[in-house]
Symmetry: C2
Subunit: 135 residues, 2 copies
């Protein structure tokens, strides 16, 4: 799917506490910096669907495990991936795709490095039932 980029991230061992890469400005998917925020999702809960019309998302799972589903309405195409420290990758989602995510671990938290500051005007929310997906 051309609406997403999945990029493996380094985990660097340190005896006092490890270091985990997030994003560099020279990385694939970087679209500028507007805002970084954290979102948590309780186990079994799903947030979505949301479509950003202008924002590029860069999603990194900080703790727990989160299943992301991206839907490209024009292509009628779904993409899904489960991210965690055990599958430590960054998910870039370009504007115009529908996104939903479900907590599948414990203490599930993501970081979104977005190229725009939060602006409710540029996002569209619809109920989960509006897009048929076998959760």
């Amino acid at each position: 799917m051309d609406k997403v980029i999945v990029t493996p991230l380094k985990q660097i061992f340190h005896p006092k506490g490890d270091v985990y890469h997030g994003m560099k400005r020279s990385d694939p998917g970087y679209a500028g910096f507007g805002e970084a925020y954290f979102s948590t999702i309780h186990k079994g809960e799903i947030k979505g669907w949301k479509k950003h019309t202008r924002m590029t998302l860069n999603l990194i799972v900080v703790s727990g495990e989160i299943e992301f589903v991206v839907y490209d309405e024009a292509q009628k195409e779904f993409f899904s991936v489960k991210l965690s420290k055990n599958n430590y990758q960054r998910l870039t989602v370009k504007p115009g795709a529908w996104v939903a995510f479900r907590g599948t671990g414990e203490h599930n938290m993501l970081l979104n490095i977005a190229d725009l500051e939060h602006d409710p005007q540029e996002a569209v929310n619809i109920p989960l039932e509006e897009i048929d997906y076998a959760w």
Copy 2:
């Protein structure tokens, strides 16, 4: 101390999982985006001292609790603060200050939103004993 800015951050309740602010490009302390990475610190361990000669740090405690100590060598002045979800603030550290931090909770992790990509040439490391502080 003029080398640091401490900025309260919003925590937004959501029944499916809360949202935590990190940084907006319009926020105090924002100095540009170079890299975002996570660093963990085991309970009782201290990482430091490190002085960045060009990098501005923006430190947010994502989980656990971390005690930060900043030392301004020119002013012979110390600053310290313990950050966690219970004291949810961002610590901005300007270039030229010595920084060390200790894990004081469980699963201690910080996010650094730095204005430069990692470059070992711009940072100086010295052993903890080199700066006299009553840890």
